[in-house]
């Protein structure tokens, strides 16, 4: 099947307005990317990584300096008109529309730019306002909306034209847990209902990327550092797993450090509670079951057990060299 998005050595350089002032900025550097139809694809990267630049090129607002970009198999440079029939885009923190129009009027207006019949548009607006819990704001002036309400309206604006591919630039930027959840679950449901459609989003939020996206590209300095499912990305960083255990009545703690895969072992006695706290740093997980049976064979009981695995954040720090927040 034809990819929803494909780029080949895509680069974008911004030249300074006047030659003397500053140097040129390479916002994208030989990006090769393939996003399949049906995917919820995330671009994760620090400020200035090139995420917005990539979305602008894909949504036909910016030309590549070199390389190629295809959306729905169409060239962004020469076939932008055809691409525009199939896409829509929403940016976080967007203040688009007209403040003196109501929510309904604004959404209707934008739907008209896609030539949608008013009756169809108004019906979709009603349904989607309900989906987003925004029905009672239908007749409120846009300028009176809160950030979250406004962003929900923006996201509705994007989906209401029924695009094949939607580009979302930090759609949950600055939103509270509730508003973010509404937007995220809408995206998931939308893809469930339309299995061939595609969502491409950028984000700063690790958890969002991890829980929401089928695949993630980690981007920094205009380069794609890694691109895979969240699970496989986490496996890629050869990080140690930490195993913490609280056990009772342990006779000999010291022997536990000799099992295979254990890189580091410490224990502390908690006399008040009669507990021993064990902490293993494991190279791999092969020895975990041996450790547990050794503990049990001493007649101990395990009061609590915790295994810490690498998070996407660890992956990110390892790849980019710094965290996001």
């Amino acid at each position: 099947m034809e990819a929803a998005v494909e780029t080949k050595s895509l680069s974008r350089v911004f030249e300074p307005k006047k030659k003397k002032e500053g140097k040129s900025v390479t916002a994208l550097d030989s990006v090769d990317l393939r996003i399949e139809g049906g995917e919820l694809f995330g671009l994760l990267g620090p400020n200035g990584a090139g995420k917005t630049t990539l979305l602008k090129i894909l949504s036909t607002l910016l030309l590549p300096t070199s390389g190629k970009a295809y959306v729905a198999g169409l060239d962004v440079e020469s076939q932008f008109s055809a691409i525009r029939q199939k896409i829509n885009m929403v940016s976080g923190g967007e203040i688009s529309g007209y403040g003196l129009l109501t929510v309904k009027e604004n959404l209707w207006m934008f739907s008209q730019f896609y030539g949608i019949k008013s009756k169809v548009a108004l019906q979709r607006i009603d349904e989607m306002l309900k989906d987003f819990g925004l029905s009672e704001k239908k007749d409120a002036k846009v300028r009176t909306l809160s950030t979250g309400e406004r962003q929900k309206m923006n996201v509705i604006r994007g989906f209401i034209t029924d695009p094949d591919i939607i580009f979302l630039d930090e759609p949950t930027l600055g939103l509270d847990v509730n508003a973010s959840r509404v937007i995220r679950s809408y995206m998931i449901d939308w893809l469930k209902d339309h299995p061939t459609k595609t969502v491409v989003l950028t984000t700063h939020y690790m958890v969002e990327a991890d829980e929401l996206c089928d695949r993630i590209a980690i981007i920094d300095n205009g380069r794609i550092l890694a691109c895979d499912t969240p699970e496989r990305l986490k496996k890629m960083v050869k990080m140690n797993t930490t195993l913490s255990m609280d056990v009772t009545r342990l006779k000999d703690a010291a022997v536990l450090g000799s099992f295979s895969g254990v890189e580091n072992f410490t224990f502390t006695e908690d006399g008040d509670k009669g507990l021993t706290r064990l902490r293993f740093v494991m190279r791999d997980e092969s020895g975990v079951s041996d450790i547990i049976s050794a503990v049990l064979s001493q007649g101990s009981r395990i009061e609590s057990l915790q295994k810490t695995e690498p998070t996407l954040e660890d992956v990110f720090i390892k790849m980019v060299g710094k965290g996001l927040e």
Binding site: L61, L62, R84, I95, G97, M109, F113, I116
Partner: protein, 273 residues
């Protein structure tokens, strides 16, 4: 969705005209700027003319010109400069990615603007006529409507062409609009018959459609208009039609080129959008 290209673009026109029309109703302060403000200028000229014992028609010309300034200001600030504001608030990029002609967006702006501005201009005309006791003699209402319509299309067509330039402007947009406001009042003869500027200046000023439009309207509203006319009505109608075509074609190509330039240089959107 099997609707044809024309239907879709007409919907886009309607969509963009809508906020202009309801906006005029929801923002009553606009009435102050578009109806009452021109009257101050009109009054100033009218008193000068009265003081000099000038012909009463001259004051009539001033009232007519004052009413027509509403259109010029609307074209300049709400049409040409509009894309600059739209870029600031992030609408421009949404217009750009929409699968319709940019001309439809601009046509929507123009129609919506024309509608509310006509209401305001008519109010200025009526109030001015009452205050200064002006008598209109309309002999040829068909020609009057024809001239008015053609002037509007040519004028807003010019606005569309300017809009393409403002698309890439930054703050210099302000200066540009200011630069075009006052000198045009002079060049286009808003407050006096343009013929007195001399043939060459008047001919040059005629590229601004409101120049010929005003000259023709003076002839159609006042009996003395013929004596003060720069060109004949028929010629002016023909030239205005030519300007309509010229500006529409220029606007089309200029919009296309400016969009390309904006995409190439990264100035179609603001950096943080």
């Amino acid at each position: 969705m099997s609707d044809g290209w024309i239907i879709k673009n007409l919907r886009a026109v309607k969509g963009r005209a809508y906020p202009r029309v309801v906006g005029a109703q929801r923002e009553p302060s606009w009435v102050f700027f578009e109806v009452l403000l021109p009257l101050f200028t009109v009054a100033a000229y009218a008193y000068v003319y009265q003081f000099m014992d000038a012909r009463q028609e001259l004051i009539g010309y001033v009232v007519l010109g004052g009413a027509m300034t509403a259109f010029w200001l609307n074209v300049l600030w709400s049409m040409a400069a509009q894309f600059y504001w739209e870029k600031e608030i992030g609408n421009l990029q949404l217009y750009m990615i929409a699968p319709i002609s940019r001309m439809s967006i601009l046509a929507g702006m123009a129609l919506g603007g024309m509608f509310s501005t006509t209401v305001n201009a008519a109010s200025t005309l009526v109030i001015g006529a009452l205050i200064f006791n002006i008598a209109f003699h309309v002999v040829d209402p068909v020609m009057l409507i024809a001239i008015f319509m053609v002037t509007m299309v040519a004028l807003y067509g010019m606005g569309m062409m300017f809009a393409s330039l403002y698309m890439l402007f930054g703050r210099e947009a302000y200066h540009m609009s200011n630069l075009l406001t006052e000198p045009v009042y002079l060049a286009s003869g808003f407050y006096f018959p343009v013929k007195y500027l001399g043939v060459f200046a008047a001919a040059g000023a005629s590229f601004i459609p409101i120049t010929l439009g005003l000259d023709a309207l003076r002839q159609l509203f006042f009996t003395s208009g013929a004596g003060d006319a720069f060109l004949s009505l028929e010629l002016e109608l023909g030239l205005l039609l030519g300007l309509c075509a010229l500006f529409m074609v220029l606007a089309h190509y200029s919009l296309r080129y400016m969009e390309y330039l904006g995409k190439a240089t990264g100035r179609l959107t603001l950096r943080w959008q």
